[in-house]
Structure formats: C-alpha cells, structure tokens
C-alpha cells in the first residue's frame, strides 16, 4: 500500500443515482485510500438519507476536465448557432408532452 499517511489519500469524485433518477449525478468528493474504501465512504457520506440506489466513485485525477481558461474556445462558438435548437417548428395541437 503506498498511500498510508494522512493527507496522502487520493481524492475521489462521487456520483449517485437516486431512486427516481435516470443517471448518476455528481454529489461531491471524498478522500479514500483505495477504490473499495471510496465506495464505503461514499455510502456513509452521501447516501445517509436514502438518496441513492447506485454509487460510482472515481479518482479525481483520472477525470479529463475542460480548463476554465479555455471556456471561450470550447463553448462560445455554439452560442450563436440558434438554428441548432429545434425552435422553428410548428407543433400540432394533438402532440402531447412538448
């Protein structure tokens, strides 16, 4: 075991799928020595009030994340492409749930 000292425990991100939820939602993070402990900690920290039926825990350093200073190149170009939204259709009256 490599990470045994306090503070050496790696950070994990926790995703929980609720009873009525369709997908796992990020709920927070925690520290744990390994995957098994991360799941146990996630159970104790994030499902105390019966929030979840499924837990994913993943080491934070394995997540590829977009950088904040690349926000504009990443996301701004889609800001003026209004034609990508399906807002130019007439919806017939008898189509429900739209």
């Amino acid at each position: 075991m490599s990470a045994t000292n306090k503070g050496d425990w790696p950070l994990y991100e926790v995703f929980v799928r609720g009873k009525r939820g369709l997908n796992h939602v990020h709920v927070g993070s925690l520290r744990a020595a390994d995957d098994e402990m991360a799941l146990r900690h996630a159970r104790d920290l994030y499902t105390r009030r019966k929030e979840g039926v499924s837990i994913w825990a993943v080491r934070s350093d394995t997540i590829a994340a977009s950088a904040p200073d690349e926000k504009d190149p990443f996301f701004a170009p889609s800001g003026d492409k209004v034609y990508r939204h399906p807002t130019f259709y007439d919806i017939p009256d008898d189509v429900p749930h739209m």
Binding site: T4, M37, R40, D44, R49, K50, E51
Partner: protein
Amino acid sequence: MTDEDLYVDGDSARWAFGTGFTDPLHGVDQAVPESVDAEGLAACCLALGDDALVSAQRLAEWCTRAPELEEELALANIGLDLLGQARLLYSRAGQVDGTGRGEDAYAYFRDADDFRNVRLAELPCGDFAFTVARLLVLSVWRLAVCEALTAAPDPVLSAIAAKSVKELAYHRRYAAEWAVRLGGGTAESAGRMRAAWDALAPWLDELLTDRTAERLGAHPSAVAARTRAELSHVLAGAGLNRPGDAASRGTSASSMPGSGRDGAHTPQLAPLLAELQSVARAHPDASW
C-alpha cells in the same frame, strides 16, 4: 415525535430526497404470544439493548477525534444504527416486563449496576485499532445472535432482529476491512492491531457463553461456533493468526471472570453513563 411520525411513508413530494422510510415494526402484532416467557423476553431485549446503547456511546466518542473525516462519519453512522436498535429493544422491554416504561427510562434513569451489557462494549475506546477490533467482534457476534432471533417466537423481537441483521452485516464489513487493512499495513498498524486483539481476548468468553437469547432461539454453542469461525477468517486475512497470537491461543486461559449480564461491570461503565445521562437527569421533564 413518535416513531410513527418519523417513519411516514409516501408523500414523496414533500422531500427532495429521503423518502420511502420504513417502520421496521409496521404491521407487526405487538401482543406477546402466550407461548413466550415474558420475563425472559424482557431480559433479552434489555441485554441486547444495553449492548447497543453502550456501544453507540463509545462510538460517538470518536466524533471530532477520528483520524479522518470520512471515518468519523462512518463510526457515527454505525453508532446511530446501534442506537436505533437500542430504542426498539428498550421499547419492547417496557411493553413486556409489565412496567410500561418508555425507552428513555431504560437509557437515562438506570445506574450502572442495572445495566446488562457485556463488558467488552463498555471498555474505553482505546486507539483506532482497538475500536476496529472491538467493533468486529461485537458485530460478528451480534449478527449471529440476531440472525437466530429472526426466527424468535416474539414477532416484535423477530422484526427488530431482521432490521438489525442488515445493519450489522455492514458494521462487520466495515470492521473486517479495517482489521485486514491495519493487520496487513505498516509495522506500526499491525502491531497496534495485534495489541488490540490481545487486549480484548480476555473479554471474549463472556460473549461466547452468553445464554441471554437461548430460549428465544439463539443457542450459545451455535452462535459461538459461528463467531469464532468468522473471526478466525478475518484474522487470517489480517495476518494475525500466527502461533502465539491471542486469537490462536484461544481465550479461556486468560478470560475475565464474571459477566456484565449479571450487572457486574468494570469501573469504566459508570463514567460513560454519567456523560450519557447527565442532560436527561438534569432536566427530567424535558422532551426532544
């Protein structure tokens, strides 16, 4: 607030999460069956309730002191599970022993010599290794007892046992994981784990010879055999079963005489109860 209020099911729209709580005693007939010896049933509920309450109080002592935030919460969670078991067991004891006492009367208004918990539960917290080792022993043993009691002739005790089994299985897993981790970790952690086993070995026989729940279906020999088998399995995984270790020597040679089941406790119980009971005794008419 009664348990019924706490456990309202349905009405999911009121809560963002946390709906679907279930009352473990929902729909269970509270009358004592004629075939059941009420005195023995009350004594069993009291003893198991005291084990749970005293254990919960010791676990709560880790709040703000645990080595990691995550472990602190885990220990508190386990303590709260046990506190919940104690509440149900005390309530049943009060229904059965003829006094009509509520759970608070048992928890807050009895002195140490009226408590019937096993002494292992009341020993001071010690270090994290001792807490883990004690939790492992108590949850393995209590799980064996509760599994047997799911077939108890009293439907309420049976329902409490069924609820407890799920909780205790998790406690066992938590403690076994840490026992293996510490036993197989550094020289320091393994040494502490070994010292913890040595410290608790003299208190094991009290658990393994306990006859409190015998007439309700938990036979001491079966419970003891299963407890020993599970503990030696974990000890092997933790590397603590070498010749000369307390776990391998057996415990009868050095076991402590007497039993907390008869009200004979270590001096450590009274201060624990003083802290647990001080607020309730200072304000006996308060409600919470």
